[in-house]
Amino acid sequence: MNAIAAVVQRDLRLALRRKSEVLTAVFFFVVVASLFPLAIGPEPDMLRKIAPGILWVGALLASLLSLGRLFAADYQDGTLEQMALSPTPLPLLVAAKVLAHWLLSGLPLALLSPVLALQFDLDGGTMWVLFASLLLGTALLSFLGAVGAALTLGVRGGEVLLSLLILPLYIPALVFGSGAVEAQMVGLGYGAQMSILSAMLLVAAFFGPWACALALRIALE
């Protein structure tokens, strides 16, 4: 347990010392979500209609930005070797790293989303659904993305390969995440989409770290 807490604490502390990495993803999300209303013009109906898709795609791409560095630094400085040799199982340490990644790159996006939703003229209820769907969704994206980051570790041009590998896996999260917001807007229940998102998150949180650990051990050989 101590090792897991130490990994989360260390990653958060590192992020505080080099803030630019966290701020880049947040800034990217804010800019992308703000460009669309400016480009499309003040048509509230149109903006409301495209809001779930735009905000979700923005969050998805923003969380992809920091994914390439999830294991790269630890791999280069040898920390990953020490993690692989730790008596704590590697999948648990990987889960700790993914949790820290979500706290730094997923949670801020979810927290910001209601503010950005104001630009798209969304009402209060829809904002809450957007916030909740992004809260679950970004965690799902972190767990899925970690598998891609582990598989492309140490590969030249890994960042591009990572996007190609992982974006198709993001599609279900995108469909059900933005679907939940749309369902709320048209007055249908959003429960089904949220349940599916939660179910996907549970499966990814269970199998993802385990798959990551296997891929990391191969990268370390």
């Binding site: 101590n2 090792a3 040898g78 920390t79 020490q82 040799l85 008596p87 704590t88």
Partner: protein
Amino acid sequence: MLSVADLSCIRGDRTLFRGVSFALEAGQCLHLEGGNGVGKTSLLRIVAGLSPAAQGAVCWHGELLGSPHCQLPAQMLYLGHLLALKDELSAVENLCAGSAIAGNTIEPAQALDALKQLGLAGRTALPVRVLSQGQKRRVALARLLLQQNPLWVLDEPFVALDAAAHALIVRVLHGHLAQGGMVLLTSHQPVDLGAQGRSLRLDA
């Protein structure tokens, strides 16, 4: 005890070494020697369980490495070429995080004490980024004073160290052996480990 039997390592289409066998009892040290590229680091990584061997077996107290009963990962301290230090963190923060990952949570005061013994007093709060290579190596070696693992696997521990630090680390190794520990190390520098030290030469 650690026993290694008939170990072979193949990298690409080259056989680095073949039929390497040795055993380490409590209180013994084995110094691996050999030129560049003969596979000393590969051998250490196989013993540590980081790379698979092409052939042969590594056993720890009779249990095969990789079997669920094998306690080797919990009882080994591996220090490789990469120091596992984060540039942005201070020496104390690095040691605390590293020890927790290695399954041995320590207090900052303990880390501070170990760093002082290695002559880093006054440098403990600086980010590791600003330390010299030798000082970084000393920070990594401070783990030797903080963890009570019986087997130490050290890959070139003396690189970048000055004569005083070299002598200090040799003393630490002697202390560890005297307490019944085991050391497996590679080094191009001569290391005087007295009666407990043996050396094994790997040839290309």
